[in-house]
């Protein structure tokens, strides 16, 4: 998703990287020596102390603790005041919201809903988007997935409503009240690196499985973007307009409602857009905690290794994503254009009449001509298995044999204290002691959870995936930066890729490589390469043209220009890309637990479905969060090496 890109604007980071250059130069040699010494030490320590990598016990203290928490909650759900007067009301409230939205959408009926969505798109975003919405929603009927699509839409809209209700006021406060902003920032930082899976188990513990838990998990996932982008929009309102309104005697409330909010409306529309896209991506995943909708089709189909059926639902999700994205982005764009009020009123009036008329018509979506992607896709997958087996197996085995297995066995056989020490030492070197301390504590926490082997397996997969992602992403990004024509061709693909819900990326990977660890790596690469390409391209393009000109006039070859000028100067962009990429890769690798990647992701999924594995699942979720913090903190320092971020 592009939310993190928006909220961590590259400009700021690049600036810092440039600043960091000067003081760093003196210490560079010293750091290099220290790095070498540390590596030698770590290797020696590993050779002396390595373990035989015993598998994780399935009865660790942490699991038992979480199980007992679950038992306590189950026993007290209807008696403890915390639940009676708090959590249970939240659940009832959210349930009510979902029911109202659901009644509204189902009440419109097939024809009514298609008409309503098209009309909204038409009025807010123009006739092209209206047409797109119309065809898109018809397609749900044609694909035979009408009810599932509406269910997904219901959950998404409910979560978006909640996120906007909570996120916009918080965003305004964060922008206007200094201590609120300062308090929220680190919280949002952590929330944004939390992989989707990690939210699910705690939500089921508090809210049971089903729609309310799904909506709340989705809201928690999406609301950081709402808050951040709202705050950004409010703080970007030109102070001159605010000052002029103040000089005329506006109250604080008048300033907010008549100046700040209206002037930030384009950014607010973008906040809603990002919230919707994040919410949709999460809603699909909440199928794992029994939320209805298209996600169910994918999960069930993947369990039966029916790629075709999963693909069919995937197509519906992509259509929904594209329609919602187009409506909101174009609506945001339209906020910049001044319309004649009257023509807009007339348009709205006609639209309402048409929608009401359509709502009175009963059409059964199953009476539409039906088409499913399942059969052709399954044929294709069969064909691939038949003809490409050698190639795909070759790639898979090569990567496993030369990258994944060696790395995994080293990590798994490293004693936990050596790992913690190595994280602390290298962390201090690249990110400053504060970040290193947090990273080392996370590492120690992982060890304490009793899932050492699984965590290290997941880590190995993540490292291999990020390595491949960076190689591919940097090559493509540099290429795009140097060839404008290519960049123009690739950009819409990248745009589209960034609006896809993450779940969808599993499908092509499964089609090619079946169920395996490698499938997760491929999905992670497909998922994370687009943002990496973007950040790298921007980093290279941001190199000042005067510098490039100077280097060319000194007689540099294109290759020298790239290696000696553009890449070193784009370092900030590259490192930011690595940081963003690694967080996305982790999220995807974990989801890969569904398609044979095993390790932590599988533990989490198993925790939902089998009662006796609940504690282990929750522990795995926590391990994922800690792994995320560890990786983020370590790479954060790349582009801010003077010290930890404030």
């Amino acid at each position: 998703m592009s939310a993190p890109t928006l909220t961590r604007p590259g400009g700021r980071v690049l600036e810092k990287a440039a600043e960091a250059d000067a003081p760093r130069r003196g210490g560079a040699t010293r750091r290099r020596t220290a790095g070498t010494v540390l590596i030698v030490l770590a290797v020696v320590a590993y050779l002396v102390f390595r373990t035989d990598g015993a598998p994780d016990s399935d009865d660790a203290a942490a699991f038992r603790f979480f199980d007992s928490v679950r038992d306590w909650v189950d026993a007290n759900r209807d008696t403890s005041p915390f639940f009676l007067y708090g959590i249970n009301y939240v659940r009832l409230g959210v349930r009510l919201l979902v029911d109202v939205v659901q009644a509204g959408l189902y009440g419109l009926g097939f024809a009514g809903l298609v008409a309503a969505v098209s009309a909204i798109a038409l009025v807010l975003a123009g006739w092209r988007t209206g047409l797109l919405a119309f065809l898109g929603f018809l397609a749900f009927g044609v694909l035979g997935l009408w009810d599932e699509s509406v269910d997904t839409l219901v959950l998404t809209l409910s979560a978006v409503l909640l996120s906007v209700l909570i996120g916009v006021p918080l965003g305004v406060l964060a922008a206007r009240v200094r201590w609120v902003g300062a308090t929220l920032r680190p919280v949002l930082d952590v929330m944004q690196i939390m992989p989707t899976f990690a939210y699910l188990a705690p939500m089921t513990l508090l809210f049971l499985i089903g729609e309310p838990a799904a909506v709340i998990a989705t809201m928690i996932y999406a609301v950081p973007a709402t808050i951040r982008i709202t705050a950004l929009g409010i703080s970007e309102v030109p102070p001159t307009a605010v000052e002029a309104a103040t000089a005329l005697g506006s109250t604080r409330w008048q300033l907010l409602s008549k100046v700040r909010l209206p002037m930030a409306r384009t950014t607010l529309a973008l906040a809603v857009n990002q919230t919707i896209m994040l919410a949709l991506s999460m809603v699909v995943i909440t199928a794992l905690i029994d939320a209805p909708g298209l996600g169910q089709n994918i999960v069930n189909a993947l369990e039966r290794v029916n790629v075709g059926a999963a693909f069919n639902a995937g197509v519906a999700i992509v259509i929904l994503a594209v329609v919602l994205d187009r409506i909101t982005t174009n609506a945001a764009r339209q906020t910049r254009i001044h319309h004649a009020r009257r023509s807009r009123l007339i348009q709205t009036g006609i639209a309402i009449v048409v929608v009401i008329a359509a709502a009175l018509v009963t059409i059964n979506p199953e009476s539409l001509p039906q088409w499913s992607a399942a059969a052709p896709v399954n044929d294709l997958v069969g064909w691939i298995e038949l003809h490409w087996f050698d190639a795909t197996e070759g790639i898979k085995n090569r990567v496993s044999e030369f990258l994944l297995n060696p790395l995994e066995s080293v990590l798994v056989t490293t004693p936990w204290w050596l790992f913690v020490a190595a994280v602390a030492a290298f962390g201090t070197l690249v990110s400053g002691w504060r970040a290193a301390l947090i990273a080392a504590l996370s590492a120690a926490g992982i060890a304490g959870l009793g899932l050492w082997q699984h965590s290290m397996q997941t880590l190995a997969t993540v490292l291999v995936a990020i390595l491949l992602t960076m190689v591919i992403g940097v090559s493509v990004g540099v290429f795009c930066a140097r060839h404008d024509r290519l960049a123009t061709a690739v950009r819409p693909v990248l745009d589209a890729a960034q609006t896809m819900p993450s779940f969808v990326y599993l499908l092509p990977a499964v089609a090619l490589f079946g169920n395996s660890r490698f499938t997760a790596i491929v999905a992670a690469i497909i998922f994370a390469v687009p943002p990496v390409v973007r950040l790298v391209e921007r980093g290279v393009r941001d190199v000042p043209p005067t510098v490039v000109e100077a280097a060319l006039s000194a007689g540099s070859t294109p290759r020298q220009l790239l290696w000696k000028v553009q890449l070193p100067m784009a370092r900030g962009g590259l490192l930011l890309a690595a940081n963003q990429g690694i967080v996305m890769v982790l999220a995807m690798v974990v989801v890969g637990g569904l398609v044979g990647a095993g390790a932590l992701g599988y533990d989490v999924v198993a925790g939902f479905s089998q009662r006796e594995l609940f504690g282990e699942g929750l522990a795995a979720g926590l391990a994922i969060v800690l792994l995320g913090i560890l990786l983020d903190r370590l790479t954060q320092g790349f582009h801010d090496s003077k010290g930890p971020r404030r």
Binding site: T240, E243, A244, A245, L248, G249, Q254, K258, P262, M263
Partner: protein, 344 residues
């Protein structure tokens, strides 16, 4: 007559623990040294002046001299550090937030260098904004706004959006917005600096016309001397936050108090600004003069014709009082030398 605006010992210091600066030993340090010692920046230093009702009071100074800060202190858009301000006889610093809002709503309006229009509102609603936040009904405020737009020559543009207008027209909207609430005092912070020279001249004429028509008290900030001279009844010169000189255009050009002011006015054609009293000489004993004297308030340029053609020196009088005489020698010196020697 009570002054419309009275400012006494006004200080504005930006920076940590700013309130300790005024009145202490630190107050006497030059700006740069104060900054180096305390990290505080004294944007306005111990400024006092009075503005009479109906007067056009111009504040002039180089960029960074504290003009914007000073004018914003008047309605506490920037909170002063110390000193007294009163508007219409009422002390501004003692006002409650509610009373202060009322002052801004009804008594004092401001026009900004960068217009500060609201891009999401049509011109009409921009002009009506001040009335809207006072709770005036829609019909009434639109009527008033239409009237103001006509006054500044923007009839027919009501339903455009600010970004559809040129810079000059946008500033006319700013002007109409300030006039819409019918305030007693208008504050202008370099309102025309962002405009092209030709349009700037138009707008200056517009302000002169409006001042003649509606007769309000104007405080006008500018860094452009020509603008100050054409508009100002009196001009205050600000340097590094301090008032260097306050006086009529003539006093500034004829008797700059120091080299800073002298530098400012050195390129002004003196004969356009100064009156005869600045160039008279004592009559030689027994010198014969023309019969008809000249009044002392005549601008030099307007007297050129007569003096040059006269055969004898002409007397300059202030009523009954004889100030001295002038002849072609004085005239030529005044016409030729723009650069008067700086007084010690």
């Amino acid at each position: 007559m009570t002054p419309m605006i009275a400012v006494a010992d006004l200080w504005k210091v930006f920076g940590p623990r700013a309130e300790r600066v005024p009145g202490s030993a630190l107050a006497d340090l030059p700006r740069a040294e104060l900054r180096a010692r305390t990290g505080c920046l004294a944007a306005v230093r111990d400024v006092s002046f009075e503005v009479r009702p109906g007067e056009v009071f111009v504040v002039m100074g180089l960029s960074g001299s504290g003009k914007s800060t000073l004018v914003r202190c008047l309605t506490r858009l920037i909170e002063p550090t110390s000193g007294e301000i009163s508007i219409g006889g009422e002390p501004v610093r003692a006002m409650t937030p509610k009373r202060l809002r009322d002052l801004r709503r009804r008594q004092v309006a401001m026009v900004f260098q960068h217009f500060g229009l609201l891009p999401h509102r049509q011109v009409l609603d921009n002009v009506a904004y001040g009335l809207e936040i006072q709770g005036v009904t829609k019909a009434e405020r639109h009527r008033k706004a239409t009237e103001m737009l006509a006054l500044v020559g923007l009839d027919g543009q009501e339903h455009h959006y600010p970004d559809q207008l040129s810079g000059g027209m946008q500033q006319r909207v700013g002007l109409a917005r300030a006039l819409a609430t019918d305030p007693e005092v208008l504050l202008f912070d370099e309102p025309f600096s962002a405009l092209d020279p030709l349009i700037r001249r138009d707008m200056q004429a517009e302000v002169r016309r409006l001042h003649a028509e509606v007769g309000k008290t104007l405080v006008f900030i500018t860094h452009d001397l020509a603008e100050a001279l054409t508009l100002g009844d009196r001009i205050a010169v600000l340097r590094d936050g301090e008032l260097v000189q306050v006086g009529t255009p003539e006093e500034l050009v004829g008797a700059p108090v120091d080299s800073y002011v002298a530098d400012f006015v050195r390129d002004v054609p003196r004969s356009d600004v100064l009156t005869l009293r600045w160039i008279v000489r004592d009559p030689a004993p027994g010198e014969l003069v023309e019969d008809v004297p000249l009044p002392h308030g005549t601008v030099i340029r307007d007297a050129v014709h007569r003096v040059m053609r006269a055969e004898r020196p002409i007397q300059v009088v202030d009523g009954e009082k004889r100030l001295g005489v002038i002849d072609a020698d004085q005239m030529l010196a005044a016409l030729v030398s723009h650069h008067r020697q700086v007084p010690a």
